[in-house]
Amino acid sequence: VAVFKLVLLIAAVVFLVVACGVAYCSLRYRGRGGAGEPRQLFGSIGLEILWTVVPLMIVIGLFVITVRAMVLIDVPQDPASTPVHDLVIIGHQWWWEAQYSPFLVATGDIHIPVGHRMLADIVSRDVIHDFWTPQLARKVDAVPGLNSYIWLEADAPGIYAGTCSEFCGVQHAWMRFRVIADTEPDFRAWLKRQAMPSPAPTGIAVEGERLFQSKKCADCHSVVATESQPGRGPNLAHIATREFLGGGIARNSQASLALWLTDPQSAKPGNRMPATPLSANERDALLAYLESLR
């Protein structure tokens, strides 16, 4: 932020010099006509050198500041060893997944403990994405076949918005996520809750659980947070506790969830979920089952 303000200041000063020069010339030297040609001046080596050297100085200063800031922000690189990361963040078309070690996954919301510098390994399962939480970290591309490391750190508890920042296909606009910074005890409690299975379904949700298997939902979606299936649909563990669906395209409500079940392509056009024919009863049973995943 400090660097940006400085750049802005320099830019403002330079623009002012140019604008004043242009305005002064335009007003002062407005042709009155009939006065003959003005004095013909071809140039001045001294002036040319002046307006080469001064910008050069500015640029050199800016470069020094740039390198310093880069050292401060970026994860130091040691080619001899692979960094030990705290979590892996995976970009998919078009949702984000966080993998905590040992195996524990979360979709859409990424929890981190306040005041702790988390080393995140940013990867992609398909095309190039870009992981960007403006308030917390630099942006970095998630490139297939490449591990890119950033530090993710929040100074205060809160919810920080993030989004994919590299064009990645039809639904690039809805590849949003949230980083939720908890206090250390809250973070531990969250990890524990995630690892626990949801309470057993009751009522029509039992039927829903059976449909979840027979309608092949389970082929792509896991409902256990400690099980990761790379490259497939998002993990649905504890889905009832989520605030948003589909990378932010809709709030998590019964209506929006029902739309995903019956017509995924109108819930989020272009997404990878195939349409599954469901009767109204089957839909309600599946909904009840998903609602039971707390």
């Binding site: 940006f4 242009v22 040319e48 490139v143 490391y149």
Partner: protein, 529 residues
């Protein structure tokens, strides 16, 4: 009609280039307006996301390859022989071939709309998004094949311009005496010759991957998605200067004439272009700062990118110094040239901000970039082109453009342009990523986007007024005469419009302003230096 279809005269080929560019400009502008309408409020659903992605892909590709490059080539092909006192281009048939390759490349690209599968992977078509699994259908194939044709055409016209400048200059006109527009066109042509083959190579690799199941960009098979980015941007950044340098050349002709003074520091303006050309080949990775490429690697590219600001700054100051102490005539052409100075400076300064890597790590791929490129390419190139159109239209048609329509044209474009794009700086700072078909209703997003859309609407009116002015002036404009602006370079010694044979007698040139020498035999330029 067949006169025009078979034309090899440089003036006709030049006008064909300009007209085709104007048509594609209107198409690209319409694409932009549909996008701005979709973005005018949060969560709108005017067009499906796939169509939005096709539109911005076509908009970017059109404006760069089918508008900016051809229109500048058109001005070059039209003006260079006139400015250097020649009757023809060195290779007139190659000139015609280059134009038709260019035009049919554009037509091929637009045919993709009719097949229902326009490319939607962006004008930069990053692999692996542009590969078969993620972009099925023929859209990207159309895109790559069309650009291969355009590339061949551009290289042809570049060779033609280089040979023309090298061999067709009037007696006495050394390289130290050619007009600056010719200098910049020459430098641009050399850049095209070295940059476009990198694009052609990457397009061939992409087509091999898509059609022949090669694996250039597939990491699972030992390829690399970053290979595409390196190739694309080693073409892509020089490309920015390819579409800006000739505009610099136009400004360097227009400001002196309407300030009634010679250009300030000719050798510096010319040399700084060569410096820009060299540096532009060493800055490509600044489009890839968000990729974790290693700190030292990035620092080198940051340094080169900042350095390029220095020769660019030299030019801006030289133009202001040219106005200083002059006797300025505020024609529409001069007003656009002055506006160019301000708008381009904003675009240049936001460019320096991006060279500052930590700033780039936040602002890249946001609307801040969208604002930046439009200040460079619209505030820079298009403003200079509008200035150039008002300046050279009398030479090309024999008639003056209407000045009062011109003033309306100017103010609508200036107000519309700044309203549309200045607010996008703020959208970027607020965190709005680019290339999104819609956005959530976050604070300020809706209001700023609405302003931007309204500005774009005003801008469209300004551009339509320009087209109307051209159409009306062609029939009703007052006769221009050979030299309506009391200018100094050789094109104004030819008739307006010039005969098939530009000059009945090739003049002998002794200074940079041969017509000044003629008009002021008491104080010719060649006696000064």
């Amino acid at each position: 009609v067949s006169d025009w279809l078979c034309a090899i005269d440089h003036k006709r080929v030049g006008i064909l280039y300009m007209l085709s560019a104007l048509l594609f400009f209107l198409a690209g502008g319409m694409e932009a307006m549909v996008m701005r309408a979709q973005l005018s409020a949060p969560n709108l659903k005017l067009i499906p996301p796939e169509v939005y992605n096709q539109l911005f892909t076509m908009h970017g590709t059109t404006m760069i390859f089918l508008v900016a490059m051809p229109v500048l080539t058109g001005f070059g092909v039209y003006l260079v022989p006139l400015m250097i006192g020649s009757n023809e281009m060195a290779l007139p048939r190659l000139g015609a071939l280059s134009f038709w390759l260019q035009l049919f490349g554009g037509v091929l690209l637009y045919v993709s709309f009719a097949t229902g599968s326009a490319p939607s992977a962006g004008w930069f078509s990053y692999a692996p998004l542009s590969e078969n699994p993620f972009s099925p259908g023929p859209g990207v194939n159309y895109w790559a094949l069309a650009l291969l044709m355009v590339t061949a055409g551009s290289i042809g016209s570049a060779i033609n311009l280089i040979v023309t400048v090298a061999t067709e200059r009037a007696p006495g006109m050394t390289m130290r005496l050619v007009p600056l527009f010719v200098w910049m066109t020459l430098v641009t042509s050399v850049m095209i010759l070295f940059a476009l083959p990198a694009l052609a190579a990457s397009l061939l690799m992409l087509l091999s991957d898509r059609l022949l199941h090669a694996r250039f960009f597939d990491p699972a098979q030992g390829g690399s998605p970053l290979l595409w980015q390196h190739y694309f941007w080693i073409f892509g950044h020089p490309e920015v200067y390819i579409v800006v340098l000739p505009a610099f050349g136009m400004i360097s002709e227009i400001i002196p004439v309407f300030s009634r003074k010679p250009i300030f520091g000719y050798p510096f303006v010319a040399t700084s272009s060569v410096a820009i050309a060299f540096l532009s080949y060493g800055v490509w990775a600044h489009h890839m700062f968000a990729v974790a490429l290693g700190r030292n690697f990035l620092a080198v590219f940051a340094a080169a990118s900042m350095l390029i600001g220095v020769p660019t700054g030299m030019k801006i100051f030289s133009w202001i110094a040219t106005m200083w102490g002059g006797s300025i005539r505020f024609t529409t052409a001069m007003m656009f040239a002055i506006a160019f100075l301000l708008e381009f400076t904003i675009g240049g300064l936001s460019g320096i901000a991006f060279a500052t890597v930590p700033v780039d790590w936040q602002m890249t791929d946001t609307y801040f970039v969208v604002a930046h490129i439009h200040y460079v390419l619209f505030g820079g190139t298009v403003f200079a082109l509008l200035a150039g159109a008002y300046y050279w239209f009398p030479k090309m048609s024999g008639r003056m453009m209407d000045e009062s329509l011109g003033h309306w044209n100017f103010w609508l474009v200036v107000i519309g342009f700044n309203a549309a794009f200045f607010v996008q700086h703020f959208l970027g700072l607020l965190g709005m990523p680019r290339r999104v078909y819609t956005y959530p209703d976050l604070p300020w997003f809706g209001a700023l986007n609405l302003i931007s859309t309204l500005g774009a609407g005003i801008l469209v009116f300004g551009i339509l007024l320009f087209c109307a002015n051209i159409a009306m002036s062609l029939s009703f404009g007052t006769a221009a005469g050979d030299d309506p602006w009391n200018a100094w370079t050789l094109e104004w010694a030819a008739a307006s419009p010039p005969a098939i044979e530009n000059f009945s007698a090739i003049p002998h040139v002794r200074s940079r302003r041969p017509l000044w020498d003629q008009k002021h035999p008491e104080a010719p330029d060649w006696a000064q230096v």
